[in-house]
Symmetry: C2
Subunit: 366 residues, 2 copies
């Protein structure tokens, strides 16, 4: 039988961790006392996991490596999450550090449909990092947002996304916004010969998101944004697999289950389920992610993994144009830098600031 | 304009917390630097929040009370979550302690469709706590699960639910399981005159869940189980509002974002979105929830709240029959005790153990 390899970090003294880790193994497999599981031949042979290693990390912390049976996890995406971090997520002392899927499960997932290469082909940009900015603040009218979108496209931003607070509000209706912003990028492209992608935010229940996606795709947008932890991972997966025809940029809102390591949730699970590009909080910005954490997210998004395409890393969150050279050097070319408020909060005009950002990235082209 | 009242616990020294909390307010409202927001009249007047209090709790911790504008949150359930704990969930130093909705938002949500009273009416039991157990371990055949279901119904369990690892596996197909387990409870009811509810687990993507729900409801089941943090809160909400015709029991799998206090996530949000009964880890069992945390979850599930029906608290997780008197005394009558593995892991037979459990609860009837 095929197994998942799962690594948990556990707050427990190495001397006394074994019993607890054994109970974690039972929790994540049969969820009964061991002797109940042993009574049934099929359960005994197919459903039990195994603790394969217990590594002391400090006086109060161990790394536990577990083999968990693939049969439960293989049936649907919710069961995969159940086995990876379902009930044990309720233990404050446990963090999901890493997982590896057997090929029998991995091959069920297509991962990103476009990925880095597909996004580059849409933009016809191959020699440099990509740029991204956000239409905000929420509360602007559709006309104001479309005008900002036009300015950013003129200034040379590659992907212009909605803020994640833009939904279908009466003061900025979704369909009208999509129409006008898409028109703005189309007009700039017609006159400049340079394409920018407008990327609307899809919010609400799965049916809301599906209806919005349908409208956006019929309007010709080049990408869409979804926050999968808000919507629900299985709900996102269903839409990614069935309805998406353009690249999807994933937003990390509500993803603060810090006890799944960021590189595993944002880097690995988001990619597995189909994220073409993934936003994460950059180091040195508004959020507390370290440089190392950002490097780890990036690594998981781009590393070879079965037949899955690499996803485009999108560092964001309080970034500034001035940091462009540093960030391109750190993240490399296959990256999209997202500067939002930093383009708006400036003495010079938004257009000049946007141009500076686009030029700073172009200057690092290889 | 209507506001949400939101309370965050923040790891920061009281002396220096003010700036950070101000940035949290901006993050959860306009998500731009303040002066960008101030430029636009509509944004300035409608979109900005306010820090209303900063209470020192210790040398390294403060309670921050914020007023956040209701306009963004009012449009859909994903935006409500965005405003409550979207981007700030990415700060490891912040915990969502409490929220209050303005009536303009609260009245959009129907909450539980059955709640405690509706479940009691289905069972025609009004004078005692309710009992619940689980069909497991996964890996049993449909015939074995149905036989266990029959035994538990004969022993007098009120609600017999699937384990959350039961999905639509080849070794235990969903529809066949629902058919046989529902038949088992119907037969026992016909001969004993005492009704037990069989409650199948609905797993997968939203469409999988909807198909399974439809089959289960057509088969006459008395309740269903869903794990909303796995499925996604907006996805659960859509199904609860549109498709559910029977009470829904909510499972806490994947709900370990401990930085939303358990009583707020499991007690308040799960109820708001329509949970009729909510499972949570009981104190003194396999999980680390304290007695106080369990009391707080229960309080939130049952407290008066606008026009919302109370939800039925379902403490679970490594409970034993022996603890019945203590637990009924602690949780009170409007509770359903869930003993799973504790009915299986026993020298006496499952039927005897089940009877003991049912009798122990009946003995505390009022």
């Amino acid at each position: 039988m095929d197994h998942l390899q799962v690594t948990f970090l556990v707050d427990a003294p190495p001397d006394s961790a074994a019993d607890f880790v054994e109970s974690v193994m039972l929790e994540q497999s049969v969820e009964t006392p061991l002797d109940v599981a042993l009574r049934h031949a099929f359960v005994r042979e197919n459903m039990l996991g195994r603790v394969t290693a217990l590594e002391p990390l400090s006086a109060t912390r161990v790394r536990a490596r577990l083999e968990l049976p693939g049969l439960i996890a293989s049936t649907d995406v919710a069961q995969l999450l159940n086995v990876l971090f379902g009930n044990v997520s309720l233990h404050a002392s446990i963090e999901l550090e890493q997982f590896e899927l057997p090929s029998s499960i991995l091959e069920k997932y297509a991962g990103p449909r476009f990925g880095i290469e597909g996004i580059r082909e849409q933009l016809q940009i191959f020699d440099r990092a990509l740029t991204c900015s956000a239409l905000k603040p929420a509360g602007l009218t559709v006309g104001e947002l479309a005008s900002l979108c036009r300015t950013m496209a003129t200034g040379g931003i590659d992907v212009i996304k909605d803020d994640h607070y833009l939904a279908d509000h009466p003061f900025s209706p979704f369909e009208e916004r999509v129409r006008q912003c898409q028109e703005a990028v189309a007009e700039v492209a017609a006159s400049s010969g340079r394409r920018s992608i407008y990327c609307p935010n899809l919010s609400g229940t799965p049916d809301d998101v599906r209806r919005a996606l349908d409208f956006a795709q019929r309007s010709g947008v080049g990408a869409v944004m979804i926050a999968p932890m808000l919507l629900g991972l299985p709900a996102f997966y269903e839409i990614a697999r069935r309805d998406l025809e353009v690249p999807v940029l994933l937003h990390p809102s509500f993803a603060g289950a810090t006890r799944i390591r960021p590189e595993i949730l944002l880097g690995k699970l988001f990619r597995l389920l189909g994220g073409d590009a993934v936003i994460f909080p950059n180091y040195g910005g508004r959020f507390s992610y370290s440089r190392e954490a950002c490097g780890a997210v990036t690594e998981q998004l781009r590393a070879p993994w079965g037949g899955l395409r690499p996803s485009l890393p999108v560092p964001a969150g309080g970034m500034t144009v001035e940091r462009t050279p540093e960030l391109v050097d750190f993240f490399g070319k296959d990256t999209m830098l997202l500067v939002g408020g930093g383009l708006l909060d400036t003495g010079e005009g938004v257009l000049e600031r946007t141009r500076s950002f686009a030029q700073a990235v172009s200057a690092r082209a290889t």
